[in-house]
């Protein structure tokens, strides 16, 4: 029943929050207008995306946010150290890794985290084999990278979305 009025509840809430942040006000008028907009857009989104976004363990999202944030800061400093060399010669390499995560929303968030971290870039996901091609800026140990992605992000995302 609720799905008929609100096909993508999570999307609608996020849109409403964005609207209020952009308007810099939580007045009744902004909440009403924002809600109308959020419901309208989630109906539009339902036409091209039928994926049901269910969030289990919401507190893990906060944990994921801090883990990812810390890694972004750390890898920024690491890349800066390489770039400040007079002749930067990073050992760039491709990694292909198998993922257990298949949920589209989870994959999208993993792609954002890996890309937002300087030093690794999500290039190509193969749905049939559920593998992803990642390019690493300065590869020292391939196994270590795969383990890091698996333990730090994939496990959390599996707990949240799957």
């Amino acid at each position: 029943m609720i799905r008929r009025i609100l096909p993508h509840p999570v999307l609608a809430v996020v849109l409403l929050l964005f609207w209020l942040v952009l308007q810099q006000s939580a007045g009744l008028g902004h909440i009403l207008l924002g809600s109308a907009l959020a419901i309208g857009v989630s109906h539009l989104a339902a036409r091209f995306s039928t994926d049901d976004v269910k969030i289990r363990n919401p507190h893990k999202i906060i944990q994921l946010f801090f883990v990812a944030g810390l890694d972004v800061i750390r890898s920024n400093l690491a890349i800066m150290a390489v770039l400040f060399n007079p002749r930067p010669s990073p050992a760039g390499a491709f990694i292909e890794m198998k993922l257990n995560l298949t949920n589209p929303t989870g994959l999208a968030i993993l792609a954002i985290i890996i890309t937002a971290t300087p030093g690794s870039a999500w290039l190509e996901y193969d749905k049939e084999r559920s593998t992803v091609l990642i390019h690493v800026f300065d590869l020292l140990d391939e196994e270590e990278w795969i383990e890091t992605i698996r333990n730090r992000y994939e496990t959390l995302l599996l707990e949240i979305f799957q």
Binding site: Q24, G92, P118, E128
Partner: protein, 112 residues
């Protein structure tokens, strides 16, 4: 205005702006100096993650203090930049992978 703020806050905010700008600049240098496409895509990420993040943080602190109410729409800028960067990056990277595969360059193939 900036003269109404205590000195230590002005220094903190300026330091955040300058640090953010320096990190972004380092990323731009990387874009010029690295030798191949797959290495170059990593450099500008510094500007969109920590560089931009620090400048936006400074902006949020400064305007929250001078307007005496929390200003957080910088968060929205950061969120939009972070969400949209991977889309562009994947488009560019996959185009480049496609060309390299056609030309027989040494890149991992698809679906062997």
């Amino acid at each position: 205005m900036i003269e109404d703020l205590p000195l230590w806050l002005s220094i903190l905010i300026s330091a955040l702006v300058v640090l953010g700008a320096l990190i972004t600049l380092a990323g731009c240098f990387g874009l010029v100096r690295l030798e191949n496409f797959y290495l170059r895509i990593h450099a500008p990420t510094m500007g969109t993650s920590m560089g931009g993040g620090l400048i936006l943080l400074a902006s949020a602190i400064y305007f929250s203090l001078t307007n005496e109410r929390p200003i957080i729409h910088e968060l929205a800028i950061f969120a939009f930049v972070t969400i949209t960067t991977p889309v562009t990056l994947m488009l560019l990277a996959r185009a480049s992978l496609f060309r390299d595969r056609v030309e027989g360059e040494d890149v991992p193939g698809r679906g062997e």
